[in-house]
Amino acid sequence: MYPEEKTGIVGWGSYIPRWRLSLKEIAEVWGFNPEQPEELGVSEKSVAGVDEDAVTMGIEAARNALMRAGINPKEIGAVWFGTESKPYAVKPSATIVAEAIGATPYSMATDWEFACRAASEAIRASIGAVASGLIKYALVVGSDTAQANPGDVLEFTASSAATALIIGSREESAAYFEASATYVTDTPDFWRRDHSKYPLHGEAFTGEPAYFKHIVGSVKTLLEKTGLKPEDFDYAVFHQPNGTFPLRVARMLGFPREKVTPGLITPYIGNSYNSSALIGLARVLEIAKPGQRILLAPFGSGAGSDAYSIVVTDKVEERKHRAPIVDDYLKRKYTVSYSLYAKYRGLVYRVE
């Protein structure tokens, strides 16, 4: 028995801002090929409002996860916040979230950093902390208002959203962890130096040696470890930097397209970094049936990937209706102009 099997997802919740920006408008403003959005497989991206940041979005996702879990927040022993868009460089976002949901003062609370994979490593750490009995529940939040240099190709997809998971004992879970695996190497595919406002990236280097190598590495390790095969899974959710990479990595690993598309959210909201794969998992939990098995494989630049095998339990149906679902947030949308997006995301320099 793997330690993972003692643990599971007791509650989950997501958040997507109301505002959207059409990728066609980005192409028009910056003179890109008008077909670029189609090539990326993304039509719009979600844009956090002027009064939003990774913390406010994370709080709403965490509250949704708490509503689903139906637990006392004082029993949460760790609030672990994965982001690469912290409102403060020094001063934890996790303590603001912990205070807002009522988990203070005896909970651990820390911000995790590993590009888009910070929250995923926090999930593995939560499994360890819960399985060992150190804590009863862990709250993991993946939240980003992803930054991109205006006019950089990254700007097409860098978006805003959050997802939170409450990890606890298998007996209380809507879906339990079966096994997990990690694959990390030192790979310079994407980075942001201290005091730099926007990240830089290695263009085509972000594909083969980074995204594909690491996801294939973690998923193959998981399959070898467990003896499971792609046909044993009902859904596969990968990190989704655009609408095409997840389908390509699925093909490489032998997962058919129809197992990937239910959890593919990036075509509608862009790449929400730490929430990218997790919001796909949230959507799948909202449509999955008890007994179904989900592969989850987040990725973060720098680079690394984790693969999780997750089995849905009969508690999923009743939990689903306790809080807003991903589709509620997808439906609530209003398209803004590039100028308003630029103001909302601080792309316009203003002397304060």
């Binding site: 109301r18 009064d51 939003e52 509620d328 949308k333």
Partner: protein
């Protein structure tokens, strides 16, 4: 705009979790919380959390000339809502909504937002704002 640390810190729980006071004598719920009931003068009050309650929009104003520090939020919409169960009247910013979409009686829900910040390097002051309930069909979509 300078944010004074002690009051911002002291009131954080009231703002984040919408903690109000309910008078044991006359039953009136007040937000911000008060140790003395402003309705009947009683000092016997309980703290209650309103973060899970919906609210009805009573009235609002759209502010085009904001004070210093709120330029990015223009036009700033400030409303008065009444929570559906405890009937507390709350003055707060309205968010995720265009001025033309607001209607009296609209169902709103509390969310945590950045209320103000002290420039690029200073403190961020988080607090409660109200938005139209998530699943409403009253908002424009595009």
């Amino acid at each position: 705009m300078r944010i004074s640390i002690p009051p911002s810190w002291r009131t954080r729980v009231y703002r984040y979790r919408l903690v109000a006071t309910k008078c044991k004598k006359c039953g009136v719920t007040l937000y911000p919380p008060s140790n003395i009931c402003r309705h009947c003068g009683s000092r016997e009050v309980d703290q209650v959390e309103l973060a899970n309650e919906k609210a009805r929009l009573i009235t609002w104003t759209v502010i085009y000339s904001t004070m210093e520090g709120f330029e990015k939020q223009r036009p700033l919409i400030i409303g008065i809502v009444e929570t559906t169960e405890s009937k507390a009247r709350i003055l707060a910013p309205l968010t995720d909504v265009l001025p033309g979409e607001l209607k009296p009686g609209m169902i709103m829900e509390p969310v945590i937002r950045r209320i103000r910040e002290e420039g690029e390097a200073g403190l961020v002051h988080y607090g409660v704002a109200f938005r139209p309930e998530l699943t409403t069909s009253a908002l424009n979509t595009s």
